[in-house]
């Protein structure tokens, strides 16, 4: 039995296409503010590339820090898309419908944003391209496939391509609806993008088959991408904090944890700004909250395992690293904050049903998880490098410079801007999926009475 009132197809079209067909008043001011943030980020990146990486706070042992943390964070956020749409689509979970597209689009934008980070972070970004897109065959010098840094762009590019296809296939029927609702230039563009969609049975069959196939094919990619990102760290034999076999599942589950939280937050924002109370209902947020309790607990198990495996060997350098993480200021304070806001506080908030249905509390819990997951990567990367080996002479610590802080903050502006622009052009809730959901409602309205449906075909 689903909550909320029944919706007619006309009403669904009207509600969900409203932000596209009628421009909200706050749209351009919001775009202006976000563009300003992005512009500041681009200028700072230009300044950094012009002057050299000296303007960052990086130093000798700590050669990767803020920007790589941010890279892993955005890759983590990008995992929500597939987690929600592919797994839930294959599992036929009814409550996925309004969340899928927002999650997939967040995947694409978070991935593209994540990719910018390691590229600017190289010493000569203008040359990094020959490793990312190997073209240099004239000299016979190809990228070294032994390096995790070659696996990394390959995995991310695969994921980006497949999730873009995934979104496009789901978008085609909705673009066709838009084509029928617009005139002039917009009509022409939508006609082109709708790829001749007429909504006949044959086209629907292809669309559904492609969706299911891609869901199944994308799942291994989803697991592999963050595993490979974790191998950037796990394959480093010399950094004691990184060289761990648990890293792949630990990072994958952590990515799901932060990604699903981010999707919940984005959904709450969409519900508020576009007035989609009938579509993103409290039962959906509730269901995601319950899913998050499970994910968070699985993640917490891996966190404990990682620490136990680390100190179990009682090697001097590993213990020195753990001592820095847990006992030395400011890392000890960060560690306590991290454990609190990533597991104990949000799970406590997700447990009572009334809290799961309170949008303010849910938003707060989801933001707290994401801040915490950012800190998690930071607490792995920096103390790991600062206490790499037993030679105390080279031990060091790290403080970010204003350049790194600005760059990291501006990536949040960039993802928000891209999402906002997307929502102005394409519906962020799949129309046809909602209509299908309405069709399959477990209760039907007959006159004034709500009667439970007995037959369900799927």
């Amino acid at each position: 039995m689903q909550e909320g009132r029944a919706l007619t197809p006309t009403q669904i079209n009207r509600d969900l296409l409203r932000p596209i067909l009628e421009q909200p008043k706050w749209f351009w001011p919001a775009v202006f503010v976000l563009s300003l943030i992005v512009l500041v980020g681009v200028s700072v990146a230009g300044y950094m590339i012009n002057r050299g990486l000296g303007v960052t706070g990086l130093n000798r042992p700590v050669a990767w820090a803020f920007m790589i943390t941010n890279f892993v964070f955005w890759i983590g956020i990008s995992h929500a898309g597939v987690m929600l749409s592919a797994i839930l689509r294959l599992a036929k979970a009814e409550w996925r419908r309004p969340a899928t597209r927002a999650a997939e689009v967040l995947t694409i934008f978070a991935l593209s944003t994540a990719l910018t980070m390691p590229i600017m972070h190289t010493g000569r970004p203008w040359r990094a391209i020959y490793w990312l897109f190997p073209y240099d065959f004239a000299r016979g010098v190809w990228p070294s496939v032994r390096s995790p840094l070659v696996w990394d762009p390959s995995a991310i590019m695969t994921y980006l391509t497949s999730s873009t296809l995934f979104v496009l296939i789901a978008l085609v029927p909705d673009i066709a609806v838009l084509r029928d609702h617009t005139t002039g230039v917009a009509h022409r563009i939508y006609s082109l993008l709708s790829l001749g969609w007429q909504g006949n049975a044959r086209q629907w069959k292809f669309q559904v088959v492609a969706g299911v196939l891609l869901s199944a094919l994308i799942l291994p990619v989803f697991v592999s991408v963050h595993s490979i990102v974790s191998w950037d760290f796990g394959m480093s034999v010399t950094v004691k904090a990184w060289h761990s076999t648990t890293f792949a599942p630990y990072f994958v589950i952590g990515a799901v944890h932060s990604g699903v939280s981010a999707v919940v937050f984005v959904m709450i924002i969409l519900r508020q700004i576009y007035g989609w109370q009938d579509y993103i209902r409290k039962e959906h947020i509730d269901a995601l909250g319950r899913l998050l309790i499970v994910v968070a607990t699985a993640w917490f198990y891996f966190l404990c395992m990682e620490i136990i495996f680390g100190i179990y060997g009682r090697e001097a350098d590993e213990l020195a690293m753990r001592e820095m993480q847990f006992l030395q200021y400011p890392w000890n304070v960060l560690m306590i904050i991290f454990a609190g806001i990533t597991y104990f506080l949000p799970v406590a908030l997700w447990l009572p049903r009334t809290f799961r249905r309170n949008l303010w509390i849910m938003s707060f819990a989801c933001i707290s998880v994401n801040v915490g997951m950012w800190l998690e990567r930071y607490l792995i990367i920096v103390p790991g490098l600062a206490r790499k080996q037993v030679f105390t002479f080279t031990w060091q610590t790290y403080m970010p410079s204003w350049v790194e802080l600005t760059l990291v903050l501006s990536t949040f502006g960039l993802v928000s801007l891209l999402l906002l622009l997307f929502s102005r052009v394409f519906p962020l809730i799949p129309l046809y999926d909602i209509k299908e959901g309405e069709f399959l409602r477990t209760s039907v309205q007959v006159g004034r009475r709500t009667v439970p449906a007995t037959i369900r075909e799927d």
Partner: protein, 263 residues
């Protein structure tokens, strides 16, 4: 005239018993290899270039203390952890046992710094600069590395190459301990060391001063089985460095309280 190339395998032995921590090797290295001057700024940013550095450790509690010196330079590992992680083959192992860095290929991912257990790789965070008075002291045989790339000890490959060209190609001899010492073809740090704590030579030349130590260290895996004082840094990591350290022989060890171990 010798036409075939002599098959060298270079190696270094550092005798900690002779090292006084005078830093002559550090100065020689800076002058030879066009290493930028380490200003106070660079030190405070923790970005000083130290292709070879003297690590100083204190043993004991004040006032009962002793200073210990450990010169650390690129260990030119046979199983170098920095090599496989480079996505662009900017660092690789050549057939003479040297871990070489190709500046043109380097894009500056800095993965190799992270993966070097000895902390002997140096990134050019800024464009390198020298005071105007030092412009003419730059060594024409050595590239000046630009901003954004990695650099490290090369075992003064420019001197070794010059030695191979003159001694082996032109004169038909062999680049051995004697020629390297007399005609300055060995690394600059070795030539500068006043106590001869640093020794350099060919591991494959049985007459070289370093080869017994390498033979001993290669033959006996465990330190306690070795006949000489040879050991390698972080030997348990199996990086197989081409640099061997000889233990310090302390004639007057610190008087320790009961229960303390002499390190």
């Amino acid at each position: 005239m010798a036409t075939e190339r002599v098959n060298h395998k270079w190696g270094m032995v550092i005798d900690l018993d002779r090292c006084t921590g005078c830093q002559a090797c550090v100065v020689a290295c800076h002058a030879e290899n066009n290493v930028p001057i380490n200003t106070q700024d660079r030190f405070l940013q923790h970005r000083a270039y130290e292709w070879i550095r003297i690590e100083r450790y204190w043993e004991g509690e004040f006032p009962n203390v002793k200073a210990r010196f450990l010169p650390v330079l690129c260990q030119h590992c046979e199983n170098a952890p920095c090599e496989p992680v480079c996505p662009v083959y900017a660092t690789y192992h050549n057939d003479q046992g040297l871990n070489v860095q190709i500046y043109n290929r380097c894009v500056g991912t800095r993965y190799c710094i992270n993966n070097c257990p000895y902390q002997v790789r140096f990134f050019n965070w800024w464009e390198p600069q020298w005071p105007a008075t030092l412009r003419n002291q730059l060594n024409p045989d050595v590239t000046v590395r630009s901003r954004g790339i990695m650099e490290k000890c090369t075992f003064c490959i420019q001197r070794l190459r010059r030695g191979e060209l003159t001694v082996e190609r032109q004169e038909g001899g062999r680049l051995d301990d004697k020629t390297m010492q007399e005609r300055n073809f060995g690394p600059a740090c070795v030539s500068a060391c006043p106590t001869n704590a640093l020794m350099f030579g060919d591991q494959r030349d049985p007459k070289s001063a370093i080869s017994p130590y390498f033979a001993d260290a290669n033959e006996h895996v465990h330190e306690e089985d070795r006949k000489t004082r040879a050991y390698r840094l972080l030997e348990e990591m199996n990086t197989k460095p081409n640099v061997i350290y000889l233990k310090k022989v302390d004639q007057y060890p610190l008087k320790l309280k009961q229960g303390e171990q002499n390190g």
